[in-house]
């Protein structure tokens, strides 16, 4: 039985690590602050969820498991609120959402790049 839990925990760990990496990749590569936020908030939250879930699977006692659940609950509650606040501030600050312009070619000339 512990073998099954170990496999579940290992799968969650690798998936969580990969998702956080994808989130960071999106933050680096996406053309606009709003799309970057979209990558970081959703993929990053799910990555933290999966890594905390691995701790729940491998958890030795109730204290560790409850703390892991609390970490995940805080991240899940606070990440959308923070992203919303940053997006509102960026919108009020005059950031124009990125638009794909066929004349300039795919991926060319994203706003905000020097």
């Amino acid at each position: 039985m512990s073998g099954l839990l170990e496999i579940l925990a290992a799968t969650s760990l690798v998936l969580g690590g990969a998702l956080t990496f994808i989130a960071a990749l999106g933050v680096l590569r996406m053309p606009d602050v709003y799309i970057r936020m979209h990558a970081s908030t959703k993929a990053g939250t799910l990555g933290v969820l999966l890594i905390a879930l691995a701790l729940v699977f491998m958890g030795a006692d109730a204290g560790v498991v409850s703390k892991a659940v609390a970490v995940f609950a805080f991240v899940l509650l606070t990440a959308p609120i923070g992203a919303h606040l940053i997006a509102r501030a960026a919108w009020r600050g005059g950031q124009t959402p990125w638009q794909w312009r066929p004349s300039s070619g795919a991926g060319a000339d994203p706003p905000g790049r020097p």
Binding site: T11, G17, L28, V75, I86, A89, A90, G93, Q95
Partner: protein, 103 residues
């Protein structure tokens, strides 16, 4: 081996693979934090870095078996949220820095 752990077998491999992914994510988020052309970009990158540190502390608590790292992750999740809110207010109250990029 990135993290020295007492775990064996498939769990040790998974922990090291996840740590490798997280280190790569740290590098990418730090690059965006440095080059980010506008202030909101940097705030987004900093928010992601806080989330990555929370994930790494959780992973390290699992790898080392020391539960105190989980307390640190819990505290950082709360403090990071407050920092994000403060930075968002700061962005809101700061005049536009690069007027030339509005199209």
């Amino acid at each position: 081996m990135i993290i020295e752990t007492e775990l064996t077998g498939v769990m040790a491999t998974a922990v090291n693979l996840a740590a490798l992914f997280l280190v790569g994510a740290f590098v990418l988020a730090a690059v965006r934090l440095i080059i980010g052309p506008t202030l909101p970009d940097r705030v987004v990158a900093l928010d992601l870095l806080t989330m990555l540190v929370v994930a790494f502390l959780t992973l390290f608590a699992l790898a080392s078996g020391v539960g105190a790292y989980l307390d640190a992750a819990l505290a950082l999740a709360l403090v990071g949220f407050l920092a994000t809110i403060a930075f968002a207010r700061f962005v809101d109250l700061t005049p536009e820095q690069n007027p030339g990029e509005r199209r």
